[in-house]
């Protein structure tokens, strides 16, 4: 799936994210075969164990090596219908690639994400040109499932249901489907055009998406429960958590996910020419992402501002290393106190230097707060409960909530993890529903 192809839900063209190029470009066929042949084809491979969706990685890589691209892609999709996006957005260094046995052999680990991207991309291209579908959904079995939120968890859940003949209907309040895949992934990894293409492909298997419908407002959970056999909640998290520092009201102070979404989706959004420096408060992966994006967009002076030390950061070391290559700095052991303004304009951030216990003013034009997202606090049905951190409580194996008809997955149950975790949740919830109805689980062999 290449960016820029027509999409049912068209994106405007003048988006800032389009200025970014791929950090890990699509392999050519020969590059992919060379890399695939490096794979040792381990037995009980640690890369599989490290994958939240348990893709049979050595098998799909071997199929690339033997030229069975269609089989390779199906090996991936069979357990992860978001194989196109996860190939690109997964923190592979922390998952499959980090587990590769080559790491213990003084050898570069296999570039699994790039191989997955190649297999999926080549197979989908062949599917389009040949008209031979990878998967043919089973006939309608008469069951219907409502899914709230069109993020990766719901989309994967819906895809697996559709293949087994269940009708999934996704309700999305935002104008664009895809959740964070469309609005939040760093554009040097994955852009919203590609996210929408993946969604189009999933929808093509018989998934209904209703855009602009807010559950709780336009339709009640009770109505959905009455009209469907089951309900899946995949609403993700809420907006950026604000620190409410003195001086933070007004222009020049951003929530990180809001700013990323504007860079990715908002037509004509620009960084004003007089903005040359930004301080990003936080040290998670979202903080690192936005810092690197700003640096790559040309801001000469971008730094992360963090209360603790580099060793304690929740952001991945490889992500910080990537950001540093673009000049992003890390200011450790300072606590933000106040946004300093002059004539209404942000000119600095006053912080408490925790080592010397004194207040210091750091000059900047923008302040970006990347200290987490609010929990989903929308209406829930009776029996669906949240834990102390606002996460919906589900059964670990089935992703079923306390309500027998309601399942949930993705960030709203885990507090904010990876797309691949959401994909695993969506699949497991779909399988649990199918099992409960005595239907076959997994992709139907007739489609093989």
């Amino acid at each position: 799936m290449d960016a820029g192809k027509s999409s049912a839900t068209a994106l405007a063209d003048n988006r800032l994210e389009q200025q970014f190029s791929d950090a890990k470009p699509l392999y050519t066929a020969s590059e992919a075969i060379i890399e695939a042949n490096r794979c040792l084809y381990c037995h009980d491979a640690p890369c599989i164990t490290a994958c939240p969706t348990g893709i049979d990685i050595p098998a799909f890589i071997r199929k690339i090596a033997t030229g069975n691209i269609r089989g390779s892609a199906k090996t991936i999709f069979r357990v992860n219908m978001a194989g196109a996006s996860t190939a690109r957005v997964c923190p592979v260094e922390e998952l499959c690639v980090g587990a590769c046995v080559y790491n213990g052999f003084n050898e570069t680990p296999i570039h699994i994400g790039r191989l997955q991207r190649y297999a999926v991309s080549a197979a989908l291209e062949a599917e389009e040109s040949s008209g031979r579908r990878l998967f043919t959904p089973k006939p309608d079995c008469g069951r219907k499932v409502a899914l709230i939120g069109a993020g990766p968890a719901s989309l994967v859940c819906a895809a697996h249901l559709a293949l087994e003949g269940v009708t999934p209907i996704i309700y999305e309040r935002d104008p664009l489907p895809g959740g964070l895949n469309t609005t939040g992934i760093a554009p040097y990894k994955f852009q919203s055009g590609d996210a929408l293409l993946e969604i189009e492909w999933i929808i093509g298997h018989g998934v209904d998406i209703r855009i602009g419908v807010e559950v709780g407002q336009d339709v009640t959970i009770e109505q959905l429960l009455a009209d469907h056999d089951a309900l899946f909640i995949g609403v993700g998290l809420g907006g950026d958590t604000a620190l409410d520092l003195p001086g933070s009201d007004g222009p020049g102070v951003w929530g990180a996910t809001d700013l990323i979404r504007r860079i990715k989706n908002q037509p004509g959004f620009e960084i004003p020419a007089d903005v040359g420096s930004a301080l990003v408060i936080g040290a998670g992966n979202t903080a690192i992402d936005i810092a690197r994006e700003l640096a790559m967009l040309g801001l000469p002076d971008v730094a992360l501002v963090y209360r603790r030390t580099e060793e304690e950061m929740s952001g991945y070391a490889h992500e910080l290393e990537g950001a540093r290559r673009y000049g992003v700095k890390l200011i450790e052991q300072v606590r933000p106190l106040e946004v300093v303004r002059s004539d209404g304009r942000v000119v600095g951030l006053k912080v408490l230097d925790l080592i010397n216990n004194e207040a210091v003013e750091l000059a900047c034009d923008w302040v970006v707060e990347a200290v987490g997202q609010q929990k989903f606090d929308g209406a829930l049905a009776p029996g669906v409960e949240r834990d102390g951190q606002g996460r919906i409580i589900v059964d670990e194996a089935t992703r079923r909530s306390g309500h027998p008809q309601i399942y949930a997955g993705g960030d709203c149950i885990n507090g904010g993890q990876e797309v691949v975790n959401a994909a695993a949740d969506g699949r497991e919830a779909a399988f649990a529903m199918l099992r409960g109805w005595g239907l076959e689980v997994g992709l139907n062999p007739g489609a093989a």
């Binding site: 020969s30 037995h43 071997r62 199929k63 033997t66 030229g67 069975n68 199906k74 040949s130 093989a448």
Partner: protein, 445 residues
């Protein structure tokens, strides 16, 4: 999805993939796990009079970082009691009635053949494979390849087996012969129902340069073994094709020799194999490889619009002719794609030293004198400059083919590391077809 099921001289199998007689088909437990993984059949490790094996039995060659490109073994036939093997064969057939179990056999006397054939069939074998192929150990005792190398003996024992057998009899041939047609025709004369080939090639795998012990080393000594694995595939393809295209060989063939993936399998099918036997690749990676073999072959057949694997059998054979029939007027010429060329110049040096000096570089004058010959080190004046420079140092490394001088040997395309960068294109305007045989007939040769 294509139909992969086959019927080879009455032996039915859900797919053409069988374990070859060898360590992966040594026991019932293994064969059942293989069937669970997807294998359609198994040729049981050769049964015969009890033997004793040596320790240190395998050796291999690695090539350019690839492990086990070729494997050599000095292991003999089964070292487990016959009654245990027969009990397990019975058990496997009871649990997997639709899979093919072929029992490989190797004994000496006519009485022994009668006895072991009857016991194999009583145990439920779907077919028998007479091992006339092993080139190590057993041949010193008058069995294995020593039978396969003597057409008269091969024919006689085949006839014995046919006298006693109620199930199909396959003859497993040794490639250690001058002409594979000799044992093939003898097997047909003896009444064989099918052929299996190739068995292993007589080999020494190497010498340990520290100790000067030959490998695999059995207390500093070794002996010749049987060579197999990916490296032997071309030899096997030739022998399978040579038998399959001969009208005097009307019986089906089970192809063996370096089959590691679905592509190898498809090639053996196209050259006339009905079933396919695999050993080394399973020894390397396990039974699980059959999943991609089935999946990949299926996708290939679908793409080719073939509804059944049988449609592929022998499809390449019409193109297998004698050298004297080849068209001498067919001319190809090398084309280098400057856009994908990475400037390694391996084509240049291969052509310069290993072929016909028709590729030229543009890094100054050539290092060697080429005299007055029309093939030369120096580009002739007519040779056009490189296709693209653009001030790019890499592009300046793109060599140029002197197309008039190129004899179309393919070497440059073979050494090029970039797929499809060098292509061999037919020279336009070639006159009509003429073979050597036609020239001879016209009195020109």
């Amino acid at each position: 999805m294509a139909d992969l099921s086959i019927d080879m001289c009455g032996i039915r199998s859900p797919n053409p993939f069988w374990l070859a007689s060898g360590p992966p088909a040594n026991s019932g437990e293994q064969v059942m796990r293989a069937f669970d993984a997807g294998w359609g059949g198994a040729v049981w490790k050769t049964l015969g009079e009890p033997i004793v094996n040596v320790s240190s039995r395998l050796g291999s060659i690695d090539y350019a970082g690839s492990r086990m490109v070729g494997l050599n073994n000095i292991e003999l036939i089964t070292d487990r009691p016959l009654e245990v093997n027969f009990k397990e064969i019975y058990e496997v057939k009871k649990r997997y009635p639709n899979h093919a179990v072929i029992v490989s056999l190797m004994v000496e006397s006519k009485e022994d053949w009668r006895d072991i054939i009857m016991r194999s069939e009583d145990a439920g074998a779907d077919g028998l494979e007479l091992n006339f192929g092993c080139p190590h150990g057993m041949c010193e005792r008058g069995m294995g390849s020593s039978v396969g190398q003597e057409p008269a003996v091969l024919e006689e024992i085949t006839a014995w087996a046919k006298e006693f057998a109620n199930t199909p009899v396959l003859i497993k041939l040794t490639p250690n012969v001058g002409d594979i047609l000799d044992p093939g025709l003898a097997a047909v004369a003896g009444g064989a129902d099918g052929l299996s080939l190739i068995n292993t090639i007589k080999s020494l795998i190497g010498v340990d340069l520290d100790t000067l012990a030959i490998l695999p080393s059995v207390r500093a000594e070794s002996t010749n073994g049987g060579y197999c694995g990916p490296a032997v595939k071309p030899i096997a393809l030739h022998m399978v094709g040579a038998l399959a295209r001969d009208s005097r060989i009307p019986i089906p063939i089970s192809g063996i020799g370096g089959i590691s993936d679905w592509r190898d399998a498809a090639e053996f099918l196209a050259l006339g194999s009905t079933s396919l036997q695999v050993c080394t690749a399973v020894m390397h990676y396990g039974y699980r490889i059959v999943e991609d073999m089935i999946d990949g072959l299926n996708n290939y057949l679908d793409e080719k619009g073939m509804a059944s694997v049988n449609d592929l059998i022998g499809k390449a054979l019409p193109g297998f002719v004698e050298w004297g029939e080849l068209d001498l007027n067919y001319q190809v010429v090398a084309k280098i794609d400057a856009d994908t060329c990475i400037g390694c110049q391996l084509c240049y040096v291969a052509c310069l030293d290993g072929a016909h000096q028709c590729i030229h570089t543009h890094q100054g004058p050539c290092a060697a004198f080429h005299g007055e010959s029309d093939h030369g080190m120096n580009p002739r004046l007519e040779v056009p400059p490189p296709v693209r420079h653009n001030g790019n140092a890499l592009l300046a490394m793109v060599p140029t083919v002197d197309e008039d001088e190129c004899i179309g040997c393919n070497l440059c395309a073979l050494v090029c590391p970039v797929p499809d960068c060098i292509t061999m294109e037919e020279r336009p305007g070639a006159p009509g077809r003429e073979s050597w045989n036609q020239r001879v007939a016209r009195g020109l040769a």
